[in-house]
């Protein structure tokens, strides 16, 4: 099946299979995480899904900036004014019932959007409690999350990713790979009918559970979804029982993309979590999967089945992921912030709503209709009084028709209420730690101690932290922005010292992190602990003079972002190179001759204020 497959991606056949599965059982499977750039391949896939979904099943596109009201349903503005009483409007999610919601640019979706989608996937209904309305709407829908993320830090929120059964990566496919579909709409309809009758035998369940464990997939939801996918594949193939082929497909589409480690016993060493029960007979690695005859002992054949599944999984794990897994690091998890990107939006309209206030909607603020009506409501009897109305400046909202002059609701300017928003701007502190030989000699341990104390402060303020270390050839991002201080501490403790000082590379990395954080709407700040004596250039060559100049040039670039920062000189005596760096960065310079960790922290805190 993998003729046209390039390393790392999903083959078109699998993608077609996924579309068919999604069309057959959207709500049961949760849906599809589709990693692909916009283009003909993605469009063809979506068109396939549209064709295969039964005619009565809707497919709605949810834009990334969808408002909560539109998503969940809420007050129908026009209808409410027209009728003079609250009129509810169905939300997008309720409209998707029985079909599929396509979430565009899922990697930029806000937390709230993700949380609502997750709730719908869990409960199959939308719970509405807003704008004075309350109700439930059935919404058994699947979600297709279109992920256009390029970098590692742009990924769909884990809460959503976990609930979507099928993970596809079509980035490596081109139009030439597209082939006609092996299914048609009739087959999908037949599969829909058959699905409830398909059984999943005991040993198949066990094989899937074992494979999930061996691949280091903690979430049980993944295993549950794999079982459902296996059943759906069998239903699509006209079977009444989950067979080997269905299991293979489930592993390829559900388990393999979620793997956090390789299913080899040697690999268990770099997992510091509790020892897991390793599946039986995996010692062989490559040779055992060839084929135990099924006639042997039952457990042996189960083991073989699982082995084969694991091989299928390894074969379809993307190559770059494979490399990373071998290096012992799982896919990075990150905390998606608000997904709106800067400057274009006005502050008054941005962020999370936090209550309402009297105000004038014409100045660009968003009118809160419910609050406005509420403010107007107590006065209606008075205002309807002809004498009061003669007063003149009554603006009538909701003139029902031209024939009627008497407004249903009299709203005056003082009733206007606008929604206030608050932008939750998270601050992220980037620690850039010099672990080179010169620094290590002097006071790497001390710097580590100081950072730990600073981390505790970050915890108190609910800040995020990121950690960049540099030594030897180049800087390394030890920890992408996270709120998990335990991870930060662990990474820091494991940081070895020694080697050259690639300062330019470190400043570059800090700058790119700063940009990343700003793009997400956060407020970055950095703390650089170094003696400033660069001796490694960006290209890895040595030379104090050239490296120093490069570092200063990089520093001036970072300075242009006008981000708050400070340089802590870790050399034994205050040294002009660190001071020079601080000046180029436009950062605060703190020489620390023989200070202990607490003094260092105090200095940083004083500087931060």
């Amino acid at each position: 099946m993998a003729e046209t497959q390039r390393p790392g991606g999903t083959s078109w056949q699998d993608a077609q299979l996924a579309a068919a599965l999604c069309a057959a059982a959207p709500a049961t499977l949760g849906g599809v995480l589709l990693r692909a750039g916009p283009g003909p391949v993605r469009d063809s896939w979506l068109a396939l899904l549209r064709d295969w979904l039964p005619a009565e099943s809707p497919q709605r596109r949810i834009p990334v900036h969808v408002s909560e009201t539109r998503l969940l349903g809420g007050l129908d503005l026009a209808g409410t004014l027209q009728a003079g009483r609250p009129v509810a409007e169905r939300g997008l999610l309720a409209e998707c019932d029985g079909g599929v919601a396509v979430l565009a640019m899922a990697e930029r979706a806000s937390r709230a959007t993700v949380a609502h989608l997750a709730a719908v996937l869990d409960n199959g209904e939308v719970l509405l409690e807003r704008d004075g309305l309350s109700g439930r709407a059935i919404a058994a829908a699947g979600v297709v999350a279109l992920d256009e993320g390029l970098a590692d830090d742009e990924a769909v929120a884990p809460a959503l990713r976990d609930r979507l059964a099928l993970h596809l990566d079509l980035r490596s496919l081109s139009i030439r790979d597209l082939a006609p579909a092996p299914f048609d709409a009739a087959a999908i309809v037949a599969a829909r009918d058959r699905l409830a009758r398909v059984a999943c035998p005991e040993d198949a369940t066990e094989a899937l559970c074992g494979a999930a464990l061996a691949l280091g997939i903690d979430s049980l939801r993944a295993t549950l979804l794999a079982v459902q996918v296996a059943r759906a594949v069998a239903a699509l193939g006209g079977e009444d029982m989950v067979d080997a082929e269905a299991l293979d497909a489930a592993v390829r589409l559900v388990l393999a993309p979620r793997a956090t480690r390789l299913p080899l016993p040697e690999q268990a060493g770099d997992e510091n979590e509790a020892p897991r029960e390793s599946p039986p007979e995996q010692g062989g690695g490559g040779d055992a999967g060839a084929g135990n005859p099924a006639g042997e002992e039952a457990s042996a054949s189960e083991g073989a089945m699982q082995e084969r599944l694991l091989e299928a999984a390894v074969a379809s794990i993307p190559a770059d992921l494979l490399a990373r897994l071998q290096a012992g690091a799982g896919p990075r998890q990150r905390n998606p912030g608000q997904g709106k990107s800067g400057a274009l939006q006005r502050h008054r309209l941005r962020g999370r709503p936090m209550g309402v206030a009297p105000g004038d909607p014409r100045s660009g603020a968003r009118l809160s209709l419910v609050a406005t009506l509420r403010a107007a409501a107590p006065w209606q009897n008075l205002r309807r009084d002809p004498a009061a109305r003669a007063g003149g400046d009554a603006a009538s909202a909701g003139r029902a028709g031209t024939g009627r002059t008497r407004p249903r609701v009299v709203v005056r300017r003082e009733d206007f209420r606008v929604t206030r928003f608050r932008q939750r701007s998270e601050s992220t502190t980037i620690f850039v730690v010099d672990a080179s030989g010169s620094a290590a000699l002097h006071r790497l341990a001390e710097a580590k101690g100081a950072i730990e104390l600073l981390l505790a402060d970050c915890y108190v303020r609910r800040d995020q932290v990121a950690l960049v270390a540099f030594r030897g050839e180049q800087a390394e991002l030890l920890l992408p922005p996270t709120r998990s201080l335990v991870r930060a501490k662990r990474n820091l403790a494991a940081l070895p010292g020694g080697g050259g000082t690639p300062l330019a590379s470190a400043v570059d990395m800090a700058a790119s992190l700063v940009e990343q954080i700003q793009r997400r709407g956060g407020t970055p700040a950095y703390v650089m602990l170094t003696d400033g004596r660069a001796n490694i250039c960006r290209d890895g060559s040595q030379g104090r003079q050239a490296a120093g100049e490069e570092a200063l040039a990089a520093a001036r670039m970072l300075n242009a972002t006008a981000v708050r920062g400070m340089v802590i000189d870790t050399s034994p005596r205050p040294h002009h190179s660190a001071e020079q760096l601080a000046r180029a960065l436009g950062a605060l310079y703190l020489p620390l001759p023989h200070a202990d960790a607490t003094a260092l922290r105090d200095a940083v805190q004083a500087g931060a204020r």
């Binding site: 009483r85 609250p86 609502h116 719970l127 559970c209 049980l220 509420r374 709120r483």
Partner: protein, 341 residues
């Protein structure tokens, strides 16, 4: 609404189930917080609890689910007025488990002016919110750590006082709102505000089971449930009934459970050893131990009960060292080892 997954069919996660049952027996224990990995059945368990609760008696027609047996502070104004010496009309009703969805607006949570009546009839009427609906039941907040701050503020006060005071839009209303706050969330996505953390009596950390057998059992039962919900629920009906009766009798016998001085002293010493702030930890410890004893059909709450509930009660009350990897659970275990030897 589709039938929920039965509570008794939930595999493993004993601490979570125990904490929820304790909260079901004694509402004053103060709520349950369930924090943990994705896909561990947090929401499933909490929703399942709703189906398990015995019915309760409420004043007929009261929007706040008032308890007919309640005295004045537990009754809303209209019930007090209606009572006036004569017995109130009552009816049995399932215990409410109210969802507070993430997007909920303030007016729906605390209640607000009834827009329709105000616009139509020009009346100033109060439309009760979620807090009113949750009175005497459960208020469930999924992803509690992502809740908007202004909603949290509204919740904090009500959860502490058991009364919802509404002063807005020309309304001046107060009504009882005593509910068990149940929150769930994933700590990776954000911390909980300390004030809100303090409102939870019990906190549970759930983890994905790592044994193949357990995982298989979960997958199997979940699959059976998905395939035929009605049949699955029916299969567990008897067991559900048994636990329901257990809760019922535990509630009735709760006041009769004795807590000897020795156990009180142990609780106090445990809290002192761990350096928990305030007295709330001790009080909750005793309450939870008593509820657990009652649940197990005992008349005396002993050391055993104390041991079982201590981790859930104290876990979130320890002054936290954010960099201590050992976690609060281990510290509690250690302290108990020393005290209870």
């Amino acid at each position: 609404m589709a039938p929920a997954f039965p509570f008794t069919a939930i595999v493993a996660q004993d601490e979570m189930k125990r904490a929820l049952l304790i909260a079901a027996v004694d509402q004053d224990v103060g709520g349950v917080l369930v924090f943990g990995d994705r896909g561990t059945g947090k929401s499933t368990a909490i929703r399942a609890l709703a189906a398990l609760m015995p019915k309760m008696q409420v004043v007929a027609g009261c929007p706040y689910n008032c308890d007919p047996a309640g005295a004045k502070p537990m009754l809303c104004d209209s019930c007090v007025a209606a009572a006036g010496g004569t017995p109130l009309k009552t009816r049995a009703q399932p215990v409410p488990v109210v969802d507070l969805p993430l997007g909920a607006t303030e007016d729906r949570v605390i209640g607000a002016l009834d827009l329709e009546r105000a616009l139509h009839a020009g009346e100033k009427a109060f439309e009760p919110g979620l807090l009113a609906r949750a009175h005497r039941g459960f208020l469930y907040i999924d992803e509690v750590n992502l809740l908007e701050d202004h909603i949290v503020d509204a919740l904090l006060d009500v959860a502490a006082s058991g009364e919802n005071v509404v002063e807005r839009e020309g309304l001046s209303i107060r009504h009882p709102a005593r509910f068990v706050l149940v929150g769930s969330g994933n700590p990776e996505e954000g911390e909980l505000r300390p004030q809100l953390l303090d409102r939870f009596g019990l906190s549970v950390e759930v983890q994905t089971p790592r044994e193949l057998a357990t995982r298989m059992q979960i997958v199997r039962s979940r699959d059976a449930f998905e395939r035929d919900r009605a049949a699955f629920v029916k299969k567990w009906q008897r067991k559900e009934g048994r636990v329901r009766r257990q809760i019922q009798s535990a509630r009735e016998n709760l006041d009769g459970v004795d807590v000897p001085d020795r156990v009180l002293e142990l609780a106090a010493r445990l809290c002192m050893a761990l350096g928990t702030d305030g007295l709330r930890g001790e009080l909750t410890l005793i309450r939870a131990a008593r509820a657990l004893a009652s649940l197990e059909g005992r008349e005396v709450a002993g050391e055993e009960e104390l041991r079982k509930v201590a981790p859930s009660v104290l876990r979130h009350r320890l002054r936290r060292d954010p960099l201590d990897e050992a976690g609060s659970g281990t510290r509690i275990e250690r302290a108990m080892e020393q005290l209870f030897s």
